[in-house]
Symmetry: C2
Subunit: 421 residues, 2 copies
């Protein structure tokens, strides 16, 4: 007989190479703490809770759970479903608590970005209002590295390492073939924050190395500046390697390009961006008169487990574990944070921040990490990012020469409520 | 005093993760054979010969040369300069031989694709005509894997491994976020041959795994077929992952898209392709009504040393070595080939093919490697490609957590001829 309260673990937003490590930390610590009954997975984040699409993670094989540490994306399933405000749409929140009640769930561990922390916060507040005993804990996750109150975000280190390596490698390609392919543009993710673009700067160990120019949303972008920057680099190296964030903005703060198609915004209301590299390529070919090409790593930059940062994988696990430990210690309504320790060498521990604070915050690349010209990074940025990319996360390679990634069996939990959604 | 004849080693065309391994094989074997004086590098392929831009590879540190094995792209420099026909433009060929004569070069080792083999063949023929003692040997190189007379091409195995892994990883991402990002398209290189797209099929260990659809230039493409294929996959898995070769053609054999900009063709006269994924995305969003996104790895798929195939690296080295050994054994005008041995287990040795034969050949994905529907691969393709991706090539990681790739010092060889070009 299981008299202990159950827990739900859920994943939200864009997947990363290490969000499954965080889930592993939650699941294994929940099993170890002795105070939690079953750990259920909400298939596709909050959507799974709303639809009562749950599965029994406790019934999965231990080796499957362990393999989360080396599997990218979101094995429990993710979503971009945004809960409306409590005032506007209380029904969603009531439904969530109904599902929690009927499955005896009193712990909710939610890995995601600031939108997800907002959702968790609101669920928690309604639970308190109606007197339902619930502990909501957030686990940080985003390759964008833009969450406030944490030194950095699990997911960022692996993307940073991969993007820097891809910059280095495609940079070597441009260096070899510059007489034809004189300009290469690498477009990277980062809607409002340039952390990923900035990380590409780690690839350059000297001025000859790629990238020669880095454009981040934090520095106002102009095509006139681009053309003059490119000409200057060409004069010195006869080639140019550019890293461009997908969310470049002009001096007025407007995106220089936006997909205006039928799917122009995602369900969080964010403008779906694309085509920055295409735009830069066209301008450079026309105005500078050299051939340009672009690489767009797309979702591969957030799922590159095959070259993930061991530091990142370990910290992601630590965050999941810390969320459970904090809950057991009586904390509630908090997100786990990563706290960089002072002193020589890199050391990182965990802390806690209010969900509501994280929900309303955003951390951009600070001016001191961006060079004066607004087209590169400073040593302060290098010092910040370098420790986060260290170490090679282990990946099991199968007989077929390719990585072995797990998939849950997803033994469904019997539904007890009427359909919803 | 150096009375032995010198050798030139040159690299041509699109770089790969392992063309430097081939160069390493040439350089180290040339040093070992005892019959070659200096090994000179022609900076940027045949352009370096024409311009007399040579550097002394023999003067580089042995550890620099050894590090070629783990450095992507083309450390000697590559180009896409196409020599015109001997009849039309004999001057180029005469200049090449003038440069060879003045630097006492009697061995020319050229790593490249069929255009490069054509160049080497013509240089060799003119040398014979005028009675200049020259040995021209080709070393196969192309991620496209489209050279005839060889079982496969150095460069292909590493690209195949990386693209299959990226398919697996981005596939996990789509699997996690299918409620929003229902369709992902991975655009891969391969102008006329679908070998790279086909290799992505290795990622699927079961029908649920990405990729669900693979489109290769060898199978006539139609948008009607695409829409019906996508709908069928959606019915079964509620998501779809597509791999598309950049050179898809319709039933009339025309590219479905071509960059019509100022740089619409490269200097070999090839049409520069781009935008296939963009086009598929637009059609799927409009006709199927789901959100689609695309990843375009671009030059990162040919430079991904960080996850290169050890088999590929070793075979590339072996090809370089074999070119020198064959030259020492009295061969001339040949390209080294890879010969797969019969029997259980994978074994590969080298052979030789006439440069002129390779120059005029092209190897496409054969019908028996493509499924009946023209949207996937068969077990025969899997059996062919799997051995080529095995093993992880070693890469030195620096204190900064990133790969360490070499760069030649390039001590210039003094120019002795008037300027040319």
């Amino acid at each position: 007989m299981n008299s202990k309260p159950n827990a739900i673990v859920a994943q939200s937003g864009g997947p990363t190479a290490v969000i499954n490590s965080s889930a592993c930390g939650v699941i294994q610590e929940a099993a170890n703490c002795g105070k939690i009954g079953k750990v259920l997975g909400a298939i596709n984040g909050i959507l799974g809770v709303l639809k009562e699409d749950l599965f029994d993670i406790s019934a999965e094989k231990p080796e499957t759970i362990e393999a989360l540490k080396q599997t990218p994306a979101a094995a429990i399933g993710s979503c971009r479903y945004k809960l409306k405000s409590l005032d506007d749409f209380k029904a969603d929140y009531e439904r969530i608590l109904d599902v929690f009640k009927v499955h005896d769930i009193h712990y909710f561990f939610y890995a995601g970005g600031n939108d997800s922390m907002d959702s968790a916060d609101k669920i928690n507040k309604l639970a308190a209002d109606i007197g339902y005993d619930l502990v909501c804990m957030g686990v940080p996750k985003t390759i964008d590295n833009d969450l406030a109150y944490t030194d950095h975000c699990p997911g960022y280190g692996s993307t940073a390492k991969y993007v820097a390596t891809c910059t280095m490698e495609a940079g070597k390609d441009t260096e070899a073939l510059y007489t034809t392919d004189t300009c290469t543009i690498l477009e990277v993710m980062g809607r409002n924050a340039g952390w990923i673009a900035a990380a590409a700067g780690l690839a350059a160990r000297c001025s000859e190395d790629a990238p020669h120019l880095i454009y981040m949303p934090e520095a106002a972008f102009s095509f006139e500046k681009l053309v003059s920057d490119v000409k200057e680099v060409l004069k010195e190296f006869a080639r140019v390697f550019i890293v461009a964030g997908e969310g470049l903005k002009n001096e007025k703060g407007n995106y220089i390009t936006a997909d205006t198609g039928a799917f122009g915004t995602d369900s969080f209301g964010h403008v779906q961006l694309g085509g920055v590299a295409d735009m830069l390529k066209a301008v450079i070919e026309k105005e500078v008169g050299i051939k340009a090409r672009f690489n767009k790593l797309g979702t591969n930059q957030r799922s590159a487990m095959h070259f993930a940062s061991l530091t990142d994988v370990n910290e992601a696990y630590m965050c999941g574990q810390a969320a459970v430990k904090a809950a057991m210690a009586g904390e509630n309504g908090k997100m786990v944070t990563l706290v960089r320790q002072d002193g020589r060498g890199y050391k990182c521990t965990t802390g806690l921040a209010e969900l509501s604070d994280v929900a309303n915050g955003e951390k951009k690349v600070p001016p001191e990490y961006i060079n004066e010209k607004g087209n590169g990074i400073t040593d302060a940025m290098r010092d910040y990012a370098r420790p986060l990319i260290r170490g090679q996360a282990p990946v099991t390679i199968g007989d077929d020469g390719l990585p072995v990634y797990m998939r849950f069996e997803r033994k469904p939990v019997e539904k007890k409520l009427p359909e919803y959604l």
